[in-house]
Amino acid sequence: MNNLKNYFGMKFIFERDTWQEIYGAIRKNKIRTIITISGVTWGVFLFVFLLGMAKGLDNSFRSQFNDFATNTMFVWGEQTSMPNKGFKRGKGIQLTLDDVDVLKSQIDDIEYIAPRNVTGRWGTPPGQFVRGSKSGAFSVYGDYPTIDKVSKKKIFDGGRFINEEDIKYQRKVCVIGEDIYKQFYEKDENAIGDYVQVNGIYFKVIGVYKPTQMGFEGDDSIFLPFTTFQGIFNQGKKISWMVITAKPDKDIVQTEATIKTKLKQLHDVHQADDQAFGSFNMGEAVAKTNGFLTGMRLITYIVGIATLIAGVIAIGNVLLITVKERTREIGVRRALGATPGEVRGQIMLESILLTFVAGLTGFILGTMLLWGINNAIGTNEDIPILNPTVDFFAVVGALLSIVVLGTLIGLIPAQKAVSIKPIEALREE
């Protein structure tokens, strides 16, 4: 180790004079220095920027999924594709509240189950919404409060979502979307407690919900208590679909299979019939998105690291040219008593210093750009970037790696400098 230290001339790394010599050499040609470091600066800048954007995208996706419990699934009835028990293929399947009761009592995996009804979607007519002289057509949902546990509805201050009492007494209350509020109310007008008509029946507005990015309700739907919806639209026990959340320790994909098996039994559907029930589970969607994000991160790292290496090689290249340019200076230094170790050490420290300063500059510029982007985007939900930041350890790791790379690449010009015989250097005109 001692030999190694002497070999690299490490003992003078910490001397102020060494750095003054290096500063003198670097200062000598500012343009050269700037060109030299620009490659690494650009590389680190790109690395920080890409990493930040990937993180921002990641954060944004995650915040959207956070509205939803990830172990959630949806199931609805479609048409059979196989004849079974005397029924021809093509039989329409209608889910009912009875199915919900059976699933709730027989399948242990289920944490929450929320049957839902809708009109105004998938070919059903929308509800007519009237306030004063204005009217409009919007989708109307019949919901249990349970749905709030699966997909949290954000309600503006002062309002609330549907509760158990509303269900129990079939109250004529509704929660409306922000867009409906904007269309029907003046700015700053209080909608809570106001009476509106849905399909000719008066409802009391109890809340206005904020738009969500996930789901299909948009910001222009009307939510009624499930039981109220049942009565008004004459649904009986029919439901449009159900939303099910599995217990935290259960695998949602497994739960989905169990539930569909049970539903096939209940509706006399052949077990091999894949068409009778439609379903979708968030677990898979999240896994796919995670896969996409992981891929993004991987690409970011590959591009970033490749750019960094290219930058460091550029530094090595310029230093090599510099050594050639400085042949005479190196010869003079050696004639005056610089040892090979000192010459080598100086060139290598120049390389390390340049890569480090370049890396730091790139990091600062990249961070500033991310900060600027973050401020510009703010909470604009149309752009899927949230809080684009870089991981501290990734940055420290990147800086350390370029210093190591700078050291390695500096070895080449340093060796070149040492191989110059002072006599040849001095003879060169």
Partner: protein, 233 residues
């Protein structure tokens, strides 16, 4: 101070071997001022390079201040150069991005002297060569004669045993050449051993001894009556 016995040196020029030094015997006592003369190709620069430990002889012995100079690795050669020798070159070889003072202080930097001491000593040598007020100037702001005086101050800064000057006046006009020689004579008067390689007879006459090289051997070695440069300045 310098003892050289049967020194040989050849260079490979492609398939031909060029025998440059063909057995040089030569000694220099402390306080001498020796001119090494010869036409181009006579081997005078090669001899100086070997004396300066910038090149190695093929055969023969070289003793400098009772230290045998042989089989030196680069590190040791660098240390010896720093300790024993001061170099003055024809083309000055000042580092162009360092001020006069910084150039003079450079050998002291490689001696690991403290910054304060380096600056003080460098300043005193700059005063000695009459360039104290030019201390903060870059070489590009100095005249040829001034540059060579800075180079001489730099060669002296480490207080070497021997000063080796390779055509110190080769790039200067005659008036400036005499000024530089006046300075060299003054340094020699104080007791410093100095070797000057030159092909100009008037410069050689300003030394105390002339060694004439021809085709790799010493053909003449005589003491001369020193012409003082000060009378021309």
């Amino acid at each position: 101070m310098i003892e050289i016995k049967d020194l040989h040196k050849s260079y490979q020029m492609g398939s031909n071997s060029l025998h440059v030094l063909k057995g040089i015997d030569f000694s220099v006592k402390e306080g001498e001022l020796v001119a090494i003369m010869g036409s181009s190709g006579s081997g005078k620069s090669t001899l100086l390079n070997i004396l300066g430990m910038l090149d190695e002889p093929d055969a023969g012995s070289y003793v400098l201040d009772n230290v045998p100079i042989k089989a030196l690795n680069e590190t040791k050669a660098a240390r010896y150069r720093n300790q024993f020798l001061g170099f003055v070159f024809q083309s000055f070889n000042l580092i162009n991005y360092k001020t006069a003072l910084e150039n003079v202080a450079l050998p002291l930097y490689y001696q690991r002297k403290k910054r304060k001491e380096r600056t003080e000593r460098a300043m005193s040598y700059l005063e000695k060569v009459g360039l104290a007020e030019w201390a903060t100037h870059l070489p590009s702001e100095l005249s040829g004669g001034q540059k060579q005086r800075v180079a001489i101050a730099r060669a002296l800064a480490a207080n070497p045993k021997v000063l080796l000057a390779d055509e110190p006046t080769g790039a200067l006009d005659s008036t400036t050449s005499y000024e530089v020689m006046d300075l060299i004579q003054g340094i020699n008067d104080e007791g410093k051993t100095i070797l000057v390689v030159t092909h100009e007879p008037d410069i050689a006459d300003m030394c105390k001894r002339i060694v004439h090289l021809k085709d790799g051997v010493i053909v003449e070695d005589r003491k001369v009556e020193q012409v003082r440069a000060s009378q021309y300045v």
